[in-house]
């Protein structure tokens, strides 16, 4: 009850504060130019940046997390298991500003030399891999986000996989299944709905992550319209708001930034509701085919 009230309050506040910008030109925010002097506030690059950086992070994080979770529950000896779970828990508690510093000082130079330069050197003719390596980039943001969400997906997947009923595992083993076949045909199908929910939770986290992303993405509007390369600096809704809100004076500037916040909330909200819908749909049909 209190939560609902609180939520409506935030929602209302965002709506009211972004009203001036929306009323002036409801479609302007979807344009590609953001020019404070000229009073043009189009944030398409940030909107796309948010969606794309998070999607890439999910693309990286899902296989990594599942591999760790399967290794953890099915193959790892118990000493390794204890060590690994400490690492996973620790990773989940690292403040995002630390991820930002680490990304800036350690991951950025490493990625520049070992990922961006070799790839754009050999595959540079493909537009998304083209162009000079700046260091700060969309890809770097996605990689940092990956590190931030892997612990979420991994730890939930571990608890799901390890709660697979022993009777089902034994049924599969008694038919001559290998360990991997037990994972593939029993443990993963048993856990898939929960894993999907965990991925959506992680996506929500990635979409809304501010600090680390703002620090490493370069916060530039050149992506994706002047350069489509993933090695190019880019921006997200969060990085845009965080880097400009405190210095904005023009009321339309402020209002447009708040409108970006409103858009972000709408995006995370729809991801969340869609996930809920799918989960409830499938959990009803769980015992159907």
């Amino acid at each position: 009850m209190v939560v609902v009230f609180f939520f409506i309050m935030i929602f209302g506040m965002l709506l009211i504060r972004s009203f001036p910008a929306m009323a002036r030109d409801p479609l302007m925010i979807f344009g590609s130019t953001w020019d404070v002097e000229a009073g043009i506030f189009g944030a398409a690059p940030a909107i796309i940046g948010t969606l794309v950086s998070s999607s890439i992070a999910i693309l990286f994080a899902v296989p990594i997390s599942l591999a760790i979770a399967v290794f953890f529950t099915e193959y790892a000896p118990s000493q390794i298991r204890t060590g690994l779970s400490v690492v996973i828990d620790m990773l989940a508690t690292i403040p995002s500003v630390i991820f930002g510093i680490w990304g800036l000082w350690i991951v950025a130079p490493l990625m520049k030399t070992f990922v961006q330069e070799p790839i754009s050197g050999s595959l540079g003719f493909i537009p998304i891999f083209s162009g000079p390596a700046y260091g700060l980039s969309l890809l770097l943001a996605s990689v940092i986000l990956t590190f931030m969400i892997v612990p979420i997906i991994t730890s939930i997947s571990i608890s799901l996989l390890s709660s697979t009923p022993v009777e089902l595992r034994e049924a599969m083993i008694s038919l001559g299944a290998t360990r991997w076949e037990v994972v593939r045909h029993v443990a993963l199908p048993f856990s898939k709905l929960g894993i999907f929910a965990a991925v959506m939770l992680a996506l929500g986290r990635a979409l809304g992550e501010t600090m680390a992303v703002t620090m490493v993405i370069g916060n530039s509007f050149m992506w994706p319209f002047s350069s489509i390369s993933i090695f190019s600096p880019a921006s997200t809704l969060t990085s845009k708001i965080a880097s400009e809100l405190y210095e904005a004076i023009d009321p339309f500037h402020v209002s447009s930034l708040i409108e970006l916040g409103f858009l972000l909330l709408m995006i995370t909200l729809s991801v969340n509701s869609l996930a809920r819908l799918i989960v409830s749909r499938y959990s009803q049909r769980r015992y159907g085919t």
Partner: protein, 250 residues
């Protein structure tokens, strides 16, 4: 009579606790052997040594020999052993994410059989052999978990039979079922022995008397008595056996 499966001085442990103490027993081909004994005497552990499932428990250890047609299964690939020696569990355990027919062919698919028509044929035959086909044929795509408990257990038996095992191990397969389902499964077991060797654990002495050719009595991890079911019940040699079958036992 030829011996199908035989154990020699079979012992088993959970960690440091010894649960089976040197059991030597020979199971005849195409016979039903019942294993009886008080709770905790090691019956489940024993049959799980026969298809190499016991060693999967943390701390599970086995010593001695288990010979299938004279060859030690502990020298074979465990997956191969389990394809030849099937198992049915106490609690029906169909795969909830699979349809009825996918449940039946789950094991066959693992061993590489992929052609759809063949799989359908195998599923149909296995379901018929457990008398389930007529009851479910209208909707084979339904989940295995949507069946009644007795049907689920027959589905699990069909799943094991589809592998065409040489031996089938059953751990109290009817203890979770109603009397009607129980008698269906008992009838099925009597029919099965024309083709395969059946080893069945039961808590129910009258069930053992109804369905088995031979009966073995385990007590505290040791084999106390083993013989033809008729003699076993009419003239037990050991006083402990007699106390057990007359019900003066926990």
């Amino acid at each position: 009579m030829t011996t199908k499966l035989e154990t020699k001085a079979l012992s088993a442990w959970f960690g440091r606790k010894q649960v089976l103490k040197g059991i030597s027993i020979a199971f005849e081909e195409r016979e039903v052997t019942a294993l009886v004994g008080p709770s905790g005497c090691g019956k489940s552990t024993f049959i799980r040594c026969l298809n190499r499932m016991h060693e999967l428990n943390p701390g599970g250890r086995v010593d001695g020999k288990v010979l299938l047609d004279g060859a030690d299964i502990y020298g074979m690939d465990p997956m191969e052993v389990r394809r030849k020696i099937g198992m049915v569990f106490q609690k029906p355990n169909p795969f909830p994410n699979m349809s009825i027919s996918d449940n039946v062919v789950a094991g066959i698919k693992l061993s590489g059989e992929k052609k759809k028509a063949d799989l359908e044929g195998i599923a149909e035959r296995a379901l018929k052999s457990v008398g389930l086909y007529e009851e479910v044929k209208d909707d084979l795509r339904r989940s295995g978990a949507s069946l009644s408990g007795g049907q689920q257990q027959r589905l699990c038996i069909a799943r094991a039979l589809a592998m065409e095992p040489e031996v089938i191990l059953m751990d109290e397969p009817t203890s979770a079922l109603d009397p009607a389902s129980t008698s269906k499964i008992e009838e099925l077991i009597r029919k099965l022995k024309s083709e395969i060797t059946v080893i069945i654990i039961t808590h129910n002495v009258s069930q053992a008397a109804r369905i088995s050719d031979k009966t073995a009595f385990l007590y505290l991890g040791e084999l106390i008595e083993y013989g033809n079911t008729k003699e076993f019940f009419e003239s037990p040699k050991s006083p402990i056996t007699e106390r057990y079958i007359t019900g003066r036992f926990g």
